[in-house]
């Protein structure tokens, strides 16, 4: 990682047990997303969903660098962030189904899964809206002298809206304890990001940090360990008062933008090429090569996670609908 002053540093590598738990989490996210699609087709999910299969490495790697005290602001494509922070699977599925046993009482749905007790501050559907929010949370921590950061996750599509530039400017100006993670999944809705984002030839979104004198990094979002390292260093920088970092994690969503989008705009072969660099495959291969995991252990992991996901979805579906009285109680605080 290269800081604004051209400095290069490295983070403490996570041990094998931690990496095995990351792998299991990524498998949980993958199977949970597949399950969301399955229950959607069964008519159990109102509205639409924005799935993240293929992007598990960014959230697991980034959240792996955080402590429970750190804060996270994500987006409507936020299932992987929620599960990476540890949202309970039953509360997760119930929320997506709009049931009262959902983690947000059924008020949020697929787009807005947050658990305050896990440091999740919000998950807006409006593009770019969370970037200033993460900045404000990071300032709050700084003003109180707290050793915690806020991480703002957003997509490549958010890098062209005003809040991106406004928030980066103020975050750097005031040295907010914030880390920005752009999950560049190559498409803003149906449009390739290079068709909507002015960059130098061969340049990256992360280059935009330079306009604000901010540190930046481009990382392989399919490699959870690389994301972890970049976020760890950015977190340390923020806590040292050296300011925020804009991290571009290059990744890919295997599904379309939302449930109804088959992703037909993608060139032939592109999806298959990315699947060759699957984040679960990359970390699994690494752990097997290192001798930290046996192939049979990996298989067992998939099996038991599938059982947990299926059971959680079944329990979630037994939840009742939220009442109007419950909804009324959620508008205003006491």
């Amino acid at each position: 990682m290269v800081g604004a002053e051209g400095r290069v540093a490295s983070a403490i590598a996570p041990g094998p047990d931690v990496l095995v738990s990351w792998l299991e989490k990524m498998i949980e996210i993958r199977l949970a997303e597949d399950k969301v699609m399955e229950i959607y087709m069964q008519g159990l999910v109102p509205g639409t969903v924005h799935l993240c299969q293929g992007m598990e490495g960014t959230s697991v790697g980034a959240c792996g660098a955080l402590t429970p005290d750190d804060w996270v602001v994500c987006t409507y494509r936020g299932h992987h962030h929620a599960l990476s922070r540890g949202v309970d699977l039953v509360g997760f599925f119930a929320e997506i189904m709009g049931r009262e046993n959902g983690v947000c009482g059924g008020m949020g749905g697929s787009s807005h899964i947050v658990d305050r007790s896990l440091g999740m501050l919000g998950s807006p559907a409006i593009i770019g809206a969370g970037i200033p929010v993460a900045t404000g949370a990071g300032l709050s921590a700084k003003l109180r002298g707290e050793q915690r950061v806020a991480v703002g996750f957003f997509g490549d599509g958010a890098c062209n809206i005003g809040t991106f530039h406004e928030a980066l400017n103020m975050a750097q100006l005031w040295r907010s304890q914030v880390v920005f993670v752009v999950e560049n999944n190559q498409y803003g809705e149906y449009t390739p990001y290079r068709d909507s984002t002015a960059l130098a030839d061969g340049g990256n979104i992360a280059d935009r940090a330079g306009a604000y004198g901010m540190a930046s990094a481009v990382v392989d979002g399919q490699d959870a360990r690389a994301v972890y390292e970049a976020v760890s260093l950015a977190r340390a920088r923020a806590l040292a008062g050296e300011g925020p970092t804009l991290i571009e994690a290059q990744t890919y969503r295997y599904r379309g933008h939302s449930r109804t989008d088959p992703g037909a705009y993608r060139p032939p072969g592109e999806l298959d090429a990315w699947k060759q660099r699957d984040p679960i495959g990359i970390l699994g291969d690494f752990l097997i090569t290192e001798g930290a995991l046996a192939a049979s252990g990996l298989e067992t992991m998939w099996e038991r996670t599938q059982v947990a996901v299926d059971e959680a979805a079944d329990v979630a579906a037994e939840g009742g609908w939220p009442t109007i009285q419950q909804a009324e109680g959620f508008v205003y605080a006491e």
């Binding site: 947050v114 921590a141 003003l143 809040t163 006491e334």
Partner: protein, 330 residues
Amino acid sequence: MPSEAAVVTYREAIRLALDDAMAADGSVVLLGEDIAKAGGPFKTTAGLYEKYGAGRVFDTPIAENGFCGIALGMALTGLRPVVEIMFSDFLPTAFDAIAMEIPRWRFMSGGQLSAPVTVRASGGAGGRFGAQTSSTAESWFLQFVGLQVAVAGSPQGAYDLLSVAIASNNPTVVFDHKALHNTKGELLRRGVESMSPPGKAAVVRSGGDVTVVASLQMLRRALEAASALEDSEGISAEVIDIRWLRPLDFETVSKSVAKTGRLVVVEEQYHDGGWGASLISRLTTEGFAWGSPPIAVSMPELLISHSPPLEDFMIPSVERITSAVRAAAG
């Protein structure tokens, strides 16, 4: 804090509300354009940067949507930010943060999150500032459930409403009026526990013939009209300072109209889609038997110009209010 009332300007009442809130609660922070070292474009924050420091008073860049979103992030994590929007007309640049984010995060999270953000905005005509810096903007946010909206018509109102808004666990937009900044009135500085909660209007003049409901600068003009009518024609108008547009104090207005049977709403805004229309609609749909049809004194559907005769034509004058009250009484 002094225990006796003093005569202060409306501008000073705003400044004192901020000062007292910051002294009482270390989590109150201020953000806005030119509010720190320069003391604010309208001097409503004069001396606060010197008193509380750079960690509590932030000079922001000109980026309203961004710093309102930052205020949301601060509010979600234990601070009570007060944001100043220099002119109410700049509120649309921050519409996403103020209308779509701040009032909805609590609901979407199933009550897990709270966003105690106060947004202050100075608006209104009279300064010959033209079409983009003269709106009161007071009703623009009425479709955004989850957001409280207050309008200050006097120094005491400005102090109380801002104090209550800052102490509230819910987000609030508090409007003040530029033409009132130099006006004076009695102010008693006091703790929020002795103030009315959000949603309470104030009967500022008692009367039996016609109920007049007004906001901001129109409150002074309505009082002037009421006084003149009482003296010259013996018409007794009850004047209500509406103070809160959400929650709207239907009860206080309803009680007054039950007595007078007649209503005039006076607003420095277009009537359609505004709080005056809401009041008339609610009273009517609830079957209120009008003694005479309610009257709205509001702005014609034209835009505000900096040219003095044209601006004056737009804003309800004491004469227009007087005629309306006379017509309602007759």
